[in-house]
């Protein structure tokens, strides 16, 4: 056992670090550092720069346009990218639809979609949740009926992140309402968001942003060659997607970067006549957070190195633990940053700042953004399988209860 990275791994890390340092546009880096969530154009710009270097599709094999990295290299990449801080590559494109098409797609589907997904020429969104099918995903009702060489899709999806930006949607639909088990009548379809009959309606979330949507399907005609895998076997595809290498799910680089920023911000603020960074209660809170991050980092190393050893693609049940603790930590970093801002974190002056860009600053932009992130990332323990569902998974898969 050895905690240290090998010389090769260190050289790899340094290569990534240097590339990101030299190629990440300064304005994007600064916005990320201040805690803004990346704009669509930031994500596209950075993913294309990475793709030119062959790194955007970081977890794909070489033959499909990925770098063919090992699990350890992928982990290092995610961390370096988050530490920079740079926008993360689109998870819908890279860690979801990409691996699904590589595993289940036809040659034509791979050829048509993979290069465009890597270069984010297509922006993908995920049509899974429905009003009546959240944690109980198999309850989904959106129907797809065969009509000649098309499926006709009717129904509604919800919580569809960035559907308003999306060119394509990968969707779970019910193709056999009479199937004995609910899971057996579901198919996995790729739907062009420009198809007539699709309506996207915004959902404004508690942070004030428009990130989520409702998507309505009204007699939407989808060519049958947009089916991925076999008809009525879409549940297998979804399970593969949700279980596929979730080691990045802890987003530890992000949490580390946010703690680093919080410590810098705490030098600017004051408490009891001293810089906040010197406040004993604050220091204890940071120390606890850093300790918890360290523990999860080692757990992540264990999961990644076990994954590297077997490479069976079977998800490690401990990845549920990574999801739970990782999101808890990320949420804790947003609380920390907000609390550092204190009263200055409470105003919502983003619009005011943009409108009056020549006026003197209203207050530190990071403080207002910290609260926005705090509010937005309450979703972290809800999306990707709620943390309670993750505990159900651990209960069944590990504890056998």
């Amino acid at each position: 056992m050895d905690l240290r990275f090998t010389a090769d791994e260190l050289a790899f890390r340094d290569e990534l670090r240097a590339f990101i340092r030299d190629h990440l546009p300064d304005d994007i880096r600064e916005r990320m550092r201040l805690g803004y969530s990346p704009r669509k154009e930031d994500t596209v710009c950075w993913q294309r720069i990475l793709n030119q270097r062959g790194w955007a599709a970081f977890n794909w094999p070489k033959e499909y346009g990925g770098p063919g990295w090992t699990p350890v290299q992928r982990m290092i990449f995610l961390e370096e990218n988050q530490l920079a801080p740079a926008p993360e590559v689109s998870s819908f494109n890279i860690t979801m639809i990409g691996p699904v098409l590589i595993q289940f797609g036809t040659e034509e589907q791979k050829h048509r979609f993979l290069p465009r997904a890597a270069n984010i020429d297509d922006w993908w969104c995920q049509g899974f949740s429905e009003p009546g099918a959240g944690s109980d995903l198999a309850a989904l009702k959106t129907a797809a009926k065969r009509d000649g060489d098309h499926y006709v899709v009717n129904g509604q999806k919800i919580w569809t992140s960035t559907a308003h930006h999306a060119d394509w949607c990968f969707c779970l639909v019910r193709t056999d309402p009479a199937a004995k088990k609910r899971q057996e009548g579901i198919s996995f379809l790729l739907i062009d968001m420009k198809t007539p009959g699709i309506t996207v309606r915004p959902i404004v979330s508690i942070d004030g942003s428009h990130h989520l949507n409702e998507v309505f399907f009204d007699d939407v005609r989808v060519p049958i060659d947009m089916l991925v895998g076999e008809e009525n076997r879409g549940w297998d595809v979804a399970k593969y997607l949700l279980g596929h290498e979730r080691t990045g799910i802890a987003r530890l680089g992000k949490s580390k970067e946010r703690v680093k920023f919080a410590k810098e911000a705490a030098h600017e603020m004051r408490a009891n006549g001293k810089p906040l960074i010197d406040d004993p209660a604050f220091r204890l809170r940071v120390a606890q957070l850093e300790t918890d991050i360290k523990a999860l980092e080692i757990t992540q190393f264990r999961v990644v190195s076990a994954y590297a050893k077997k490479e069976s693609g079977k998800p490690d049940p401990l990845s549920s633990a990574l999801k739970i603790k990782g999101t808890e930590l990320l949420q804790a970093t947003t609380e920390l940053a907000m609390d550092i801002g204190g009263p200055l974190a409470m105003p919502d002056w983003a619009q005011e700042l943009e409108a009056l860009s020549n006026e003197p600053e209203l207050g530190p932009a990071w403080a207002s953004e910290a609260t926005k992130s705090y509010l937005f990332l309450r979703a972290a323990s809800i999306y990707g399988g709620t943390n309670e569902i993750q505990k159900n998974i651990l209960t069944k898969a590990v504890l056998g209860l």
């Binding site: 056992m1 050895d2 905690l3 240290r4 990275f5 090998t6 791994e9 350890v72 410590k263 960074i277 004993p280 220091r283 204890l284 940071v286 120390a287 606890q288 850093e290 300790t291 918890d292 360290k294 523990a295 999860l296 980092e297 080692i298 757990t299 190393f301 264990r302 190195s305 076990a306 050893k309 401990l318 633990a321 739970i324 603790k325 309670e388 505990k391 159900n392 651990l394 209960t395 590990v398 504890l399 056998g400 209860l401």
Partner: protein
């Protein structure tokens, strides 16, 4: 980065587990507790035969040249069965002090005897007023014509009641709390002026209050350079933290397994209580705490030998915090999920509870180490 065990390490783990499976049932353990010294002398000889007592020592001193990962595997196995023998006191704590500070003559005189199971040692450093402050030493060592004379009192000396030899810290210079001016001395437990009052700790392991009045120590029995022992004492504490972290992981594993078994078998309202989601989720949270604790014990084992003192201290403090918090969570919930039976002396879970409680309060509790980590925040 590598989280695999070597073949030798796997063999070691398997052989220790086999030995303990045969000899450390809960009932057998109760018999060992009832022996005069509170542990099994017969098993101590078996440990010697299997090479465990010389595990970390160099081959020239009858050892096997093992490292911190080997110690981790042994301590984890001991934690799973709540082993009572003075392995921590003798091999880990005193062994580390001798390894770091002992002369070749001292090592040749003592380590082979330890490896053969003929000598047990205790590290007599803590004092009643010191709590967790390693440099709070009042006991004194004054030079004489032939060596030193020791006076003072040592408190909660683990397995100090039965140890053949003591490694005693005492001030050769400076005042209380000064890290300079502390020495370590080898003292025969039967030497004139050594008095011991022994007692069990809350978990049944043994300890002693040791008073020293006018204890004569030969010049050759000073361990390392008198007055300059603090770096050694710190490393002994770090070795203790790494070893007990692994032991706590073993104990957490056992508590979690007992709890799962209970959730599957105990029936209430006509079904196993483990079918209640609130209990399932608690058990899942215990699993996460256990695995996070295991990660921290691995961190301790992988960094306790690191050459940079600052890096070592940082990682060890984090491990102590992480393992301590995890084990308190697992232990409290293990008792809670068992209900009444978890409160009883006759059932194992409460014994594990008390072992991790005692471990948590050795070498600095989580609050102590968190405060040290907080000092470094910048």
């Amino acid at each position: 980065m590598d989280f695999e065990f070597t073949d030798e390490q796997r063999l070691l783990r398997d052989s220790v587990e086999r030995l303990l499976a045969d000899h450390y049932s809960f009932a057998q353990r109760r018999d060992y507790l009832a022996e005069p010294q509170g542990w099994s002398t017969a098993l101590w000889s078996r440990y010697a035969e299997q090479g465990l007592l010389g595990l970390p020592f160099a081959e020239e001193y009858g050892g096997f040249g093992g490292g911190p990962i080997d110690i981790m595997l042994v301590m984890e196995a001991f934690g799973r069965v709540l082993a009572l023998e003075p392995y921590l006191a003798t091999v880990v704590l005193s062994g580390t002090a001798l390894h770091l500070a002992g002369s070749a003559a001292q090592k040749s005189a003592i380590l082979p005897q330890v490896a053969e199971g003929q000598t047990t040692l205790a590290f007599a450093h803590g004092e009643r007023q010191a709590r967790y402050d390693l440099s709070d030493v009042l006991a004194t060592a004054k030079p004489t014509a032939h060596g030193w004379v020791l006076d003072g009192a040592k408190s909660v000396v683990l397995h100090g009641d039965g140890a053949n030899r003591l490694i005693v810290s005492a001030r050769t210079a400076r005042e209380r709390d000064d890290p300079e001016g502390i020495g370590l001395f080898l003292v025969d437990a039967k030497a004139n002026g050594v008095a011991r009052r022994s007692y069990p700790m809350r978990d049944g392991t043994r300890a002693a209050e040791i008073s020293l009045s006018g204890v004569e120590v030969a010049r050759g029995d000073a361990l390392g350079e008198p007055g300059n022992a603090m770096p050694v004492i710190e490393r002994v504490a770090e070795a203790g933290i790494a070893a007990t972290s692994a032991e706590a992981v073993g104990a957490m594993e056992a508590m979690h397994a007992l709890t799962l078994e209970y959730l599957k078998t105990r029936q209430q309202f006509g079904k196993p209580i483990g079918q209640n989601q609130v209990l399932q989720h608690r058990a899942a949270e215990m699993l996460i705490a256990l695995e996070q604790g295991r990660s921290m014990a691995m961190l301790a084992a992988m960094t306790v030998g690191a050459p940079d003192p600052a890096e070592r201290a940082y990682n060890i403090a984090m491990a102590k915090v992480g393992v301590g918090q995890a084990s308190r969570f697992v232990a409290q919930n293990a008792v809670q999920l068992h209900g009444g039976i978890g409160m009883t002396e006759e059932y194992a879970v409460g014994h594990y509870f008390r072992r991790v409680m005692v471990i948590e309060h050795m070498f600095g509790d989580p609050a102590h180490h968190l405060s040290r980590l907080a000092d470094r925040v910048q």
